[in-house]
């Protein structure tokens, strides 16, 4: 088989079906960009999970005077007493799953709040009195936060047990939901891409039936007859895959580093690095090459007699 002959056949075929080729390229590019995006989103969620779950604690907030006066129902019996605090601490230390317990008094809480929110109107009217004393608890196994929550919720002197994890979980759930949506959309685009490829092959096989008929009669091998069609699909797919790669790289660049610049706006979030993006590219390219080629191969079995 001569490469030049085959290459020129591919070129002719792709140009003949220019609109169809364009449609294949675009649909492959979009579906694989979504696929890559979904993979990266999963990476991002995992990255954030390991980072945040490590830092996240359960906080047990105690009633302060202010709570008692403003009539917070859990604090009807007045501010927390030293004994109550002592009791909570002792109980916490008895629990196996608790790793460490830090105490934070109202002044420290006030300071932290100021640090975090600075000059906002809310921070300016706040006084140390309004802040609550709390225990910040670090668990050995963050999955078991419920044990702590149920144990201390509603105890005398405890205003609230807050599991910061559940707040994060909502965020992660949202991200996972977006992920599922992206994958669903990807599946849809992929089906469209495959159907376009099958159709392209059908049209292409029909418009070349004279050539392929002669090839068959003079004894060209089926591989030789099919190769131009399969390679046409593979080339179109590869162009689409390359476009998807470009979209992924640009996507990370404009979302995280520049443009939207989320890395600057959300300093607390650990974003995925370039390595995560770059390792996805070979996979995207491989799929963009193999999937259309396979689709073309199966389409040929139906539309091209060899």
């Amino acid at each position: 088989m001569r490469a030049q002959f085959v290459l020129s056949e591919i070129g002719v075929g792709l140009r003949r079906n220019l609109t169809m080729t364009f449609a294949v390229v675009v649909s492959v590019a979009l579906s694989l960009a979504l696929f890559g995006g979904a993979l990266l989103m999963r990476n991002q969620v995992n990255e954030m999970k390991t980072y945040w779950y490590d830092k996240v604690n359960i906080s047990i907030y105690f009633c302060n005077k202010n709570d008692a006066e403003t009539g917070v129902p859990q604090c009807a019996k007045g501010a927390v007493t030293a004994e109550q605090k002592q009791q909570v601490k002792a109980d916490l230390e008895k629990m196996d799953i608790v790793d460490k317990v830090y105490y934070e008094d109202a002044d420290q809480a006030f300071k932290h709040y100021k640090e975090q929110f600075g000059d906002t109107p809310m921070a300016n009217v706040l006084t140390p009195d309004q802040m609550q004393e709390s225990y910040q608890i670090k668990l050995k196994d963050p999955e078991k936060y419920k044990v702590v929550t149920t144990a201390f919720q509603g105890r005398a002197g405890v205003q609230a047990v807050e599991d910061q994890r559940s707040i994060l979980d909502q965020l992660f759930e949202l991200m996972n939901g977006m992920n599922v949506a992206a994958l669903f959309l990807m599946g849809l685009m992929l089906v469209i891409a495959l159907m376009l490829i099958v159709n392209t092959v059908r049209v292409s096989a029909f418009s070349r039936r004279r050539e392929t008929g002669i090839m068959r009669l003079v004894g060209a091998s089926s591989f030789y007859i099919q190769a131009p069609f399969i390679m046409e699909a593979a080339v179109a797919g590869l162009i689409g895959g390359a476009l998807a790669c470009v979209m992924l790289v640009l996507g990370r660049y404009f979302l995280i580093d520049h443009g939207l610049a989320l890395a600057d706006k959300m300093e607390l979030v650990n974003f995925i690095g370039w390595d995560a993006v770059l390792t996805k590219l070979p996979l995207v390219l491989a799929i963009s090459l193999l999937m259309p080629a396979l689709a073309a191969f199966f389409a040929l079995r139906k539309y091209l007699k060899v």
Binding site: M1, R2, E211, I214, M215, L217, V218, G219, A220, I225
Partner: protein
Amino acid sequence: MIRFDNVSKSYPKQNRPALRDVSLEVEKGEFVFLVGSSGSGKSTFLRLLLREERASQGQVHVLGKDLARLSNWKVPQMRRQLGTVFQDFRLLPNKTVAENVAFAQEVIGKPRGEIRKAVPQVLDLVGLGGKEDRMPGELSGGEQQRVAIARAFVNRPMLLIADEPTGNLDPQTSVGIMKLLDRINRTGTTVVMATHDQQIVDQMRKRVIELEKGRLVRDQSRGVYGYQH
């Protein structure tokens, strides 16, 4: 060269089989006319030879191979030893005469040097020397059929199968084509030709095989088109 042993072929959705219990043998170097009215099974016979179809019953041997046992991927290899010519020429309209002939060699991976030598040779043989660069559309029907024959013959097949090669040609041109086929036959190539052309069959006095409703009804050496009453 060709052997049919009790071959039947029926197509799905058709009550009457296209071929019924046909047995015959064609030796190397023979020239055989296949005659019969439309629907008599001539085309099916040729399709079985090319292994475009498989026999429903019986055995078809071509070039010493049992076609039923020939695996699909070996079929191209077998077809390289066959040449085929059709009523409608089947040339590529966007390729020149020489390219059309060369195509048959390119697609089976013949080296370029060999193609460059073989193509002018075979075009000379069919009487188209000097017309290498013409397009098929510029040629007469007879000339186009000569190109098709050149393409079929360029790989020097053992067996040439012609399906009504003169069906679209006037009698005079047909005679020219038949002379060419006869010359090819004299080089030792077996020729099987399906035809409706009574004049040609009667003139050539070659072996005649007649099919009727799928049955072999006549096998006559030095025969004529129809029975003479």
